[in-house]
Symmetry: C2
Subunit: 193 residues, 2 copies
Amino acid sequence: MPRKTDARARAIATAERLFRIQGYTATGLSQIIEESGAPKGSFYFHFPRGKAQLAEEAIDHYVATRIAVLRNISASTTGDALSFVHQIFGTFAAEMVASDFQYGCLMQNLANELPALDAELTKRVARGFADSTEIVAEHFRGCGFAPARASSTASALVAAVEGARTIARLERTPAIFEALADVSALRWAAREG
Amino acid sequence: MPRKTDARARAIATAERLFRIQGYTATGLSQIIEESGAPKGSFYFHFPRGKAQLAEEAIDHYVATRIAVLRNISASTTGDALSFVHQIFGTFAAEMVASDFQYGCLMQNLANELPALDAELTKRVARGFADSTEIVAEHFRGCGFAPARASSTASALVAAVEGARTIARLERTPAIFEALADVSALRWAAREG
DNA sequence: CTTTTTCTATGGTGATCACCATAATATGGC
DNA sequence: GCCATATTATGGTGATCACCATAGAAAAAG
């Protein structure tokens, strides 16, 4: 008994988009249903646990995509920490420019509305950050960083990217990403020069 | 004709607290009125423009407090960039621990709900970030940094603090602040050692 | 005390919220 | 065509949302 419609997938994609732009609480189910073009009558058939379940599936998709991006960057800069960092900043900056600074990070948006989230959803957000950080740390270890330093640097990098997103949305310019790249470059230049 | 009640001030303080914990959209006026103990009948007397005005006054107060904190730290670490940075991370980490990781940054929470904000409120959020960054940049210039490098470093620091807040709330530990401090220390040690 | 201003109580507006019960309709396998 | 499952329409639930009109109470000024 295979699926016959794409209403479910479209609802998830629309939810991901709107949650990133507006946030979780500020986005009503009616808007998601309307903009996704999905039928209004079948929402609770596809998502019996309602809005929370929809958010879970949206963040699962978001995290998977983000991890894939990080893995790609890591693979293309093997052994080169500075290029890795620069490419991360560059990629996220480009994404923001492409969306005219409308899109935030879904994990961050959800994390800033923690009291509205149930335990399961909270767990997935935390896991998204942990998994992202681990991939970055793994790359740094591959550059010869000691494990502790690789972890610290990875955490710092992930935090910086999140903060940069917030500020870039507000200022509507990728300047903050360039500032972070500059500071990183200084750091490595200082170590080696 | 002096003020006779503190209902207004209490509403602002409660709004600031709840907006920091729950976000702007997720916090209803009814909750603010109830928790502040303010009379229900006089809200639109004190805040004729409603929720938006309340948020404006809340962020004005928040930004003023934050700027005062930054100035204090700057004054106590004159000419010492590393101590300045460490004390910033330490202070914000301590604030988060003290509130059991409940409080986010009001500027960041509002910035993540931009579509729900009117132009005036958006402007004040942006100004809060700009003013904070300028104070940090000023300190770095006082440490002998060239103006461009002082600005980049200040922007990067502010972004890192914002991202760290998000992650710290989620993980319920100040570890991310320590990671940032470690990375900063490495950076300066590399330059000087 | 009277007047003026400041503040609050009451009770509502329509809109939207997430959610759901019921029944009808598609669509597949047979 | 028949049956079982998958999907959708309809029409609602009570709750909460931000907001407001009106009137009354409290307090300062004269």
